[in-house]
Symmetry: C2
Subunit: 187 residues, 2 copies
């Protein structure tokens, strides 16, 4: 029998993610996680090596969540439809969880803990561009351009960086069209 109220690394990350969603990255503190999980702060070290590591695991959780969400969004679609769906899904995720998105480091690829999760997310983007007949570095460039657009827009919107939210839907539609035209123009 597994004990009932036992804390696990997963539960610690759950609590941490909730804190990030509610109060942003600055709100993620071991003291707060301890309170929320009903445990003394030093006890957390039985499940997590440090605050830094906990932050990394939260990042993994978010990256995996995004990957799942985006995969669902593009399943069964291809070409412009798939790209459009992916871009809308990306924005929708960030609008729904703005603080969470701001907490994910932009450079997960070289991180020991987050590397795999980051690469999987990139894979989804890369795969979505299949069918455009891009070869070698062309595909890499196209993926990068896509990432620049979705991340650029999302990170600004997540932090309220556009003045008024007036017409943001239009701006995003224009970005999507710009990207699709660009893909087409290079074929």
């Amino acid at each position: 029998m597994v004990a009932r109220n036992r804390l696990t690394p997963a539960k610690v990350v759950d609590a941490a993610l909730d804190l990030v969603d509610e109060h942003g990255v600055e709100g993620l503190t071991l003291a707060a996680v301890a309170t929320r999980t009903g445990v003394a702060a030093p006890s957390l070290y039985k499940h997590v090596a440090s605050l830094a590591e906990l932050r990394a695991h939260v990042g993994v959780r978010v990256l995996e969540n995004m990957t799942e969400w985006f995969t669902d969004a593009v399943l069964g679609l291809s070409g412009d439809e798939a790209v459009t769906a992916l871009m809308h899904a990306y924005r929708a995720y960030v609008v729904r969880h703005p603080k969470r998105y701001s907490a994910v480091p932009v450079d997960p690829l070289h991180d020991e803990i987050q590397g795999a999760a980051g690469r999987k997310l990139m894979e989804v983007m890369f795969a979505t561009l299949r069918g455009y007949g891009l070869e070698g570095s062309e595909a890499v460039h196209a993926t990068r351009r896509l990432r620049v657009i979705v991340h650029g827009f999302a990170s600004i919107e997540a932090e309220g960086g556009f003045g008024l939210p007036e017409g943001l839907d239009d701006t995003y539609d224009q970005l999507i069209r710009m990207y699709l035209d660009d893909l087409r123009g290079k074929s």
Copy 2:
């Protein structure tokens, strides 16, 4: 006569900016600024209200610096030449000062301290697009798209977010061309 070794708010921000450049935002601590300015930590409060305020002032400094740099870059140019110069200047600034760029909040527009500096920077972008005959909200959208691209690329590059730096120049050139084509297509 003004005393020689007197600390001033400006000197405090100087030291803070150096710390950010060297060790990133996390490295910006009042204790470190105190050491670097040769003063006891509490003495800083004679010049700065809090660590948060100091961070905001560092942000202002960077925004002003960027504005100056970009203004120089586009002076005397117009149309595609001006846009290209602005985009290259943006990337060049961030490559030269990556940690500094990461320290600037993405939402300076609504901040009491940084609002004016943020708006001036946006003004430069907006003005660079003069001459394309964009009317009303068209100009707003075009400015936003430009910002999305330059910020998206720069923030990823600044944190080493692209896998290898292979071919990043090409990727950026493609983004510039994409944006220019987009501007042209809408005229």
